[in-house]
Symmetry: C2
Subunit: 297 residues, 2 copies
């Protein structure tokens, strides 16, 4: 992992804020000035054969739809709406033409569903298939939610139930509706999409918000067959993980659309660290190792 | 080439214009509505080990600077200014850490020179090094130059002299100053950067403008040791290739800063096709095969 850690370290030096930049490296999207009432949201996600997918099986869903969906998820995590994408692709010589068609059907299909326009592309020769989608979206200034707004005593919630990313990451929903519902009607203090597992992602909220947290194993809404460990440490489930003041959370859970949301913990003082409370009430350190993609061994 | 041709064909279906999109796929950048006086410019360029560079030699210039420079060139070709980039990278396990540092020094170095901010990054594990930079810029509505504005009888000009992309593509200048100078003071009717060789790139202007052209071999400003064939068919020299009405071109060439510009041909009626006039005055078809990157054989 030392190469990836080095790059993360280097990128941090780019800094977060400057003129025209509300938020740079360190959140799901970059947040740029746009007009009086809205910001631009901008992100990119690269998928690589052997790391994020294996070529061959279901390119429509596992490559085409997924390449766009992970970007929609980044925009949703900040309370915004995706508008445009650019698709950069590296294609092996002699790649199955039907697979290429399926990938693009997946891309155009999900874009049509979400009202996203494909406005650019860069096409290259590559040894292995690689696809990098860059997304531009917009968010009302009042609706923007970052990773850094969580405060002590607030509750941690998740859209759910948490599914098995190992098996189901091809059919995931991008949670755009939930994001719109949540940010439009409630005060969400911080939010992230669980692309790397709940533990690592709550760790990011706590780091950016300068807090600790306590997660309750018993409260975790797991889909059938999913273990707690998978939910905590395996990513690609693309739920929204977010924080709210307790009265706001209770208002949400009393509402009409409450069935999709669960309280799974609370934000604590930074000195308490990150803790996991098991079903017997025992507290232990919550490791933030997170999900390792296929290629990271 | 059939895989790349297929993708180009699929992407064309995305269409060029729609609400909020002044120009989609088919130019150096996508052009998006921004405010009353300016557009957003947005592009992405992917560089892949084995196709666009070989890891090992001069990563600072050949990977880091180059990954940003090709994007600056895209923005310059439309008359705009680059503002922000996002860097997606796929890194092999056990890659030389000094090389990674050099790549990022190159990225941050050129960004500092051009006042560009790094606002995001996506870091992944990959078999071979791949780097995809996405750039956002801005252009005044009156300064926007596309590929589609050339008209019969206009002259074709190039910033120059055309250098040897095979040997020199590590030291290229992104022509941002020239772009600003040209679009600020003259009426440029169409423009492109010569990333794939002059023949292929003038072919793109003619296709988008629905015209033919005539290039003069004798007028091509070649740097020492560069053959005409290299200038026409080998890319990566990153000059600006553009068209102007003849009186405007003469005004440019009479001016103080004329030394960097050469007239190399003229725009003709579409039915005349693309022609090359050799030093003996003989006319032949100008092939638009263009540059094949390292990996395309």
């Amino acid at each position: 992992m030392k190469e990836l850690a080095l790059i993360a370290d280097i990128q941090k030096r780019a800094g977060k804020m400057s003129k025209g930049v509300k938020l740079g490296i360190g959140d799901d999207c970059a947040v740029l000035d746009h007009d009086k009432t809205s910001y631009l949201l901008w992100a990119a996600d690269m998928l690589i054969d052997g790391t994020h997918f294996r070529v061959g099986k279901d390119p429509y869903n596992k490559i085409g739809r997924k390449a766009v969906a992970v970007n929609i998820s980044d925009i949703a995590a900040m309370g915004g709406l995706p508008k445009y994408i650019i698709v950069s692709i590296g294609v092996p010589k002699n790649m199955n033409l039907a697979a290429i068609r399926a990938i693009y059907s997946g891309i155009f299909g999900i874009c049509k569903e979400y009202g996203i326009k494909v406005v650019g592309g860069d096409t290259n020769r590559s040894g292995k298939l690689v696809i990098d989608v860059s997304v531009l979206g917009r968010v009302g200034k009042k609706l923007l939610v970052t990773r850094s707004g969580a405060k002590e005593k607030e509750l941690i919630l998740i859209t759910g139930p948490v599914r098995n990313g190992k098996k189901e990451h091809l059919t995931f929903d991008q949670r755009l509706q939930e994001s719109k519902f949540l940010t439009g009607r409630y005060k969400v203090t911080s939010m992230i999409d669980t692309s790397d597992g709940i533990a690592m992602d709550i760790g990011r909220i706590c780091r950016e918000s300068n807090t600790g947290c306590r997660l309750y194993a018993a409260a975790m809404p797991l889909s059938k067959g999913l273990t707690l460990e998978d939910a905590l440490y395996y990513g690609e489930s693309f739920e929204l993980l977010f924080t709210m003041r307790d009265n706001e959370a209770h208002r949400l859970l009393r509402g009409m659309n409450a069935s999709g949301y669960s309280v799974i913990g609370e934000i604590t003082h930074k000195r308490k660290g990150l803790r996991l409370i098991d079903r017997a009430g025992r507290s232990s350190v919550l490791s933030t190792e997170g999900y390792r993609h296929l290629g990271e061994r």
